[in-house]
Each structure stands twice: as C-alpha cells, then as structure tokens.
Symmetry: C2
Subunit: 368 residues, 2 copies
C-alpha cells in the first residue's frame, strides 16, 4: 500500500516537505489558505527545489479546501508555526476519519496534546493518531511560491505519537518514507526536547536594543556572550530537571549541539561560537519575531506549566517569562499552552504519564 | 559654634565634598585608606576644583588613621560605594562618641540601617545619629588625586536620620552648610527613593553583549529602548507599591526625572531620551561595574527584602534579581542587604515603622 500525504501549510517547511516527498514519488496533496500560492503550485504541477535536493517534485493537487485535502490523505503533515496549530485543529476537526495520522512538524512544546484538546472541543470523535516531531526535518528557505531551497536534511529526528502506545504502527508506516524518524518515548520527551525554547527567547531579550532598533546581529555568534551562555545553561538544567520528574533522560542542549552539528566545546558559549551552521543566523528584528511570539507561549510557558504540574522549580525560566510578560504587556495567558490548554490540568504526575501513554482511554479508566 | 567635618573616602565624591566644604571655609579633615592620596592632599594643603566651583579648597588634615579623623570631627561624611559601608562601620566603631553625626552620601538602599547594625555588632554603644542622603550631592569627576571637577550641585537633596525623630536637630545643624538638604520622612523613604536600583541594573542586563564585549554604549540614550522602558516602569510601579505599604508617597522615577532635570515627556523612554544630562553617560563595561555590583545587592535586593517584609509582590524586580543571580553565579546572599543585615528580620511592618522612627529605644519598649 502506498501512503497518500497531505501537507497543511505552504511556507518554508511545507514547501520542503512537498519537494522531499515528491522527489520520492510519494503522492502529495497540499493545503494552504492563500489561493495565490495554491494556484502557482497547481499551474506548475509541483515545486522546484535546489540545494541538497535538486529538480522538480510533482504535487497531485493543491487546494484551499481542507475537506478536499483530508479526504485524499492518509497522513497529514502540519507544517506551520505552533501558534497556528489550534486554528488548524479546529479547521480539520469536522473532516478527520479513524486511523488517519496527523503529524505536527514540529510540535514545539505540547503541540500534539493541544491539538488533541482542540479536536475534542470541536466535537471530533475520529480515532486518529497524533504525532509531533522535535524540530523541522529541514534547513530550508522559500525562494518564492513553488520554489524552495533545501540546505540540509537532519540525519535523524525524534518523534512521538499521542498516545505513545501507537508509536510502533506509525513508525512502521512512516519509516520507509522518513528513514530519519526515530522513535521517542512519548510526546513529553519530544516537547521537552524543544530546545528552541532555551536558545531563542533569552538571547533575544538580552539584545533588546538591537532588536528594537532593527540593528542586524548574528543571534548565536554575536548575541550569545559568556554571561548569556551561563544563563542558558541554567535554563537548560531546569529543563532537564522537568524531564527527570517525568522519568525522561533528556540530552542537554550542549549534547544536542555536539551530536547535531558535530561541534566541540565545553561551555554553551564555545559550542555556539564553534558551530559553523550558526554563522549566518540573524537575531530577532522586532517584537513580532517568532523567537518571542512562538518560543515563549509555545515553548517556555508549557515547559513552565509541566514543571508546575511536577513540582519542579524553574526560577530562571520563570524570570525570563516574567520579564517578557512585562515587556510585552501580555502575560501570554490568552495565547500560551497552559496545562488547561494541554488537557493536563488537575492531573497528578502519574495520571499525566498514563495519559500520554494511553490517551483518553486512560481517562475513562481513571474516571470509573 | 562651627562644625568640624570629617570626610571618609577620597574618590570622586569625597573630593567634591572636600572642595565644596573647603570653599565655604568649613574645617575639613579627611580619611582615606590610600597613603599616596593622603600625602598628595597634605602636601597641597587641600584640593583644586574646577567647573561649577573654581579655586583651591583648604583641608586641615588628611590621614589614614580613622581614630585621628573621628577624634577631630563632629560630622562624618561617608562618601564611598555602598558595598564599603559595612567595613567602614567596623573601622569607625571603636572611636565614635555620643552626639557625633554620620552621614552616608548616599546610603543606597538600607545604608543607615545596615551601618547601625554593624556598629552594634562591633560593640559600639555611642549614641550617635546616623543619616543617609538619597543620592550624591554632586555631579563630579576626579581628575587626579587632589583635583576634582564639579559639573553640578543638586538644587535639593532629600535626606533622613536614623532614628527619624532626630531629623530636626540634625537639619538645624547642617542646613547652614548644606542648604540643599531637605528633610525626608525616614530612612525608608530615602532608601526606597534610590532610583539607581531601577535605572542601572536592568538596562545593563539587556545590553549584556555590549557590556561583555566592552563595546561602548550610552547607558540611557542607546541602552534604554521602548521595551526596556516599559520594564523599568513596571519595576518602578513595584517600588512605589513598597513605599505605599510603608505609608510613604514616593515620587515615580518619571516624576524625579521631570523635577531633577526639567525634562518633558510621557513615557520613561521619552524622558530618558530628552534628558540632555544623560547625553554622555556610558553603560557598564564589565561585570564588575557598580551598575551590577552596587545597585543589585545594595539597591534592588534590599527593596525586594522590604517588599517581602510588607507582603508586597515584586515579580519584575524579582525576575531581574533572579537572572542576575544566574548570570553572576551568585545569589548575592553573602553580600546583599537582607532584612537580617538591616536589623529588620522578624519584625512586623508596624514594628519596622516604629524602629525607623525611634531606633533601638523602641526595640527595648517592644521587648518589655
């Protein structure tokens, strides 16, 4: 059986998935809200790609009609900013059917759990399987609608399903298409592995005058000096402690930098400064940068919330959130992934662990 | 009767006081730990001054001997970084006599209270009167030992005594020499009026890469952008709330900028950017800048401690302290002015108010 893929979102990442899948002769259907982009793709009959992949990748059909997309897809690849996951869930809810797979690429922190809640609230009762990846599979940039550059494909990428007891079947289906995918423990591991939450907001805050005056700076190479790297280490230690509370042995951000990029160094500062892949990555240049608007409410705050549920103190992460809230005149409470938004409020740590493994089934058992 | 003044400290401020007093033909004795500076002053017989004051100001005697200074002085002007107050108190303790006046110029936050505690611990039982000013009377810079430039003398400067019921007698004695001095309510008002705690550490943190790379920047004009000014407003609101809890109606930092410098503007950003006096003030250029090492442990932390004693939440101030502690790998607990160091631990808010008004006498009454 060959899988039919449906991609939701035609930004950088969506284009890269279309190219990657099309070049593998996998059937690709595609949804975007922008009719102009949809038209370009249908006119071309696919996407052009250069860089690590080169050529033309066919796309069966692009559409602005979510029902049409979902009806023609076995696996839905959501490739959108985490802030959009909730509205996408609402838009998908009426059309999803049993056994469809929905993968958030990536989930940021709490993506699959929030998506599930939103489906439930929207009255979706289909028995789908949700999944989230730890980051985007590609380093890529959109040149224009219908043309993407792929600079790199990650050698491996952890992902997990919700509930996690579905991982084997999903892995079996997907690994022929995505040999990079590696089975994670559960969505908590993947969500707490979202190191963008560590690496993006704090350095952006500590370079705020540059950000506000739109003075370009290299996020890593110029923006992360010794003091900031000490702070990032503290935040990361807190993240690892949250993981421990949930029985997860998470790799440190420093270890991830070592294994992802092969860089050497002892301190965060050394690892960041020695990483050639960071050579051209520029910092935030406004308050609406995703380094703030995505990585705080969809990264740091759900980490803080998971910490609270497990009684793990996170003073440094708390302080970054507090200062951001002050500066943004927004406590992010209306937008952020709180325990309530993740469907975890009122649960004990044990119940959360059971829930991520078994899903709603476990809730029913608990309530009996 | 003419007062004999003893100045402790021969930095920028100490030199300015020597010049100011000497030019008024007030008798000046002077202490510094550095024998070279003491020698220069004694050789010259005084200090040269230029700027707003111009000429030569005689100094009766400079010495490295604290006993000699104290024995020849009625009023001791302590002009040193707040971090040095404790050791100065220890050094003064054996020699102080009843009715001597010790003024901390300025006290930062909690200066007089800490000085008193340190005298007590050192076994000093003399009935002295302590006082603290809200900031340094002068804008000044030392050109070299024995020569100072005074750019400006504040039109008025709030000060208070500890205990505050001594203010009238001290004011009567000092106002002929310092017509700028204005009577404050008590040392809490003066201590909470230390707006350096608001204006210095946070902008330094938010410009950390500049600080660490020693890239010169203007602390106010370049370092305080819109987002940071919003944050400073939040911190300032918290400071005012602490004041309210202690029955004080403190002026906001914005109002102080308006009244001290005559600048106009609605927001903190406007007031800072419109203030010509800030034109040349450069930012911190290392972790050992007083903007961190003095204004956090001797400013923000005692404010936070006073807030705790009064059950006032200070989330923004707390976050700045937390991040500084992480970055400095130091919780400042060994150096900072905690309630314990201020002699206020275990006291109710009412007891604190009684104590700052009546001093130890009140403690004895309480304990009876």
């Amino acid at each position: 059986m060959s899988l039919h893929f449906g991609i939701i979102g035609a930004g950088n990442g969506g284009h890269a998935f279309a190219a990657y899948l099309g070049m593998k002769e996998v059937e690709v259907n595609w949804f975007d809200i922008d009719p102009k982009v949809v038209e370009v793709i249908n006119d071309q009959g696919g996407v052009y790609v250069d860089g690590q992949l080169n050529g033309f990748a066919p796309v069966r059909n692009a559409t602005t009609d979510m029902k049409e997309l979902i009806d023609s897809s076995d696996v839905l690849m959501v490739v959108a900013p985490a802030n959009a996951h909730r509205i996408i869930a609402r838009n998908c809810a009426p059309y999803l059917k049993d056994d469809q797979i929905v993968i958030l690429n990536p989930g940021s922190t709490g993506g699959a759990l929030e998506f599930h809640q939103e489906l439930k609230k929207s009255g979706c009762s289909a028995e789908i399987i949700l999944a989230e990846t730890q980051s985007l599979l590609f380093a890529c940039r959109l040149k224009k609608a219908g043309h993407v550059s792929i600079f790199g494909v990650k050698r491996y990428l952890p992902f997990a399903t919700f509930p996690s007891n579905k991982i084997e079947s999903v892995y079996e289906l997907l690994s022929p298409v995505f040999p990079e995918f590696r089975k994670g423990e559960n969505v908590l591991e993947i969500s707490l592995g979202n190191v963008n939450a560590i690496l993006h907001p704090a350095p952006s805050l500590f370079n705020l005058p540059q950000v506000e005056k739109q003075i370009p700076f290299l996020h890593y190479w110029e923006g992360i000096t010794g003091g900031i790297s000490i702070l990032l280490d503290k935040m990361d230690e807190e993240r690892l402690e949250i993981g421990k509370a949930y029985q997860l042995s998470l790799p440190s951000t420093k270890d991830l930098l070592r294994s992802f990029y092969g860089v050497e160094g002892d301190t965060m500062e050394e690892l960041v400064q020695n990483n050639q892949a960071y050579k051209t990555i520029t910092g935030a240049n406004s308050f609406s940068s995703r380094y703030f608007t995505e990585d705080i409410p969809m990264g740091l705050i759900p980490m803080q919330e998971l910490a609270r549920a497990a009684n793990v103190p996170t003073p440094t992460i708390d302080a970054i959130i507090q200062l951001s809230s002050s500066i943004f005149k927004d406590d992010f409470k209306s937008s952020a992934r709180t325990l309530d938004r993740l469907g975890l409020s009122q649960m004990t740590l044990h119940e959360i662990l059971q829930y991520v493994e078994h899903g709603e089934a476990q809730k029913i058992i608990n309530n009996q």
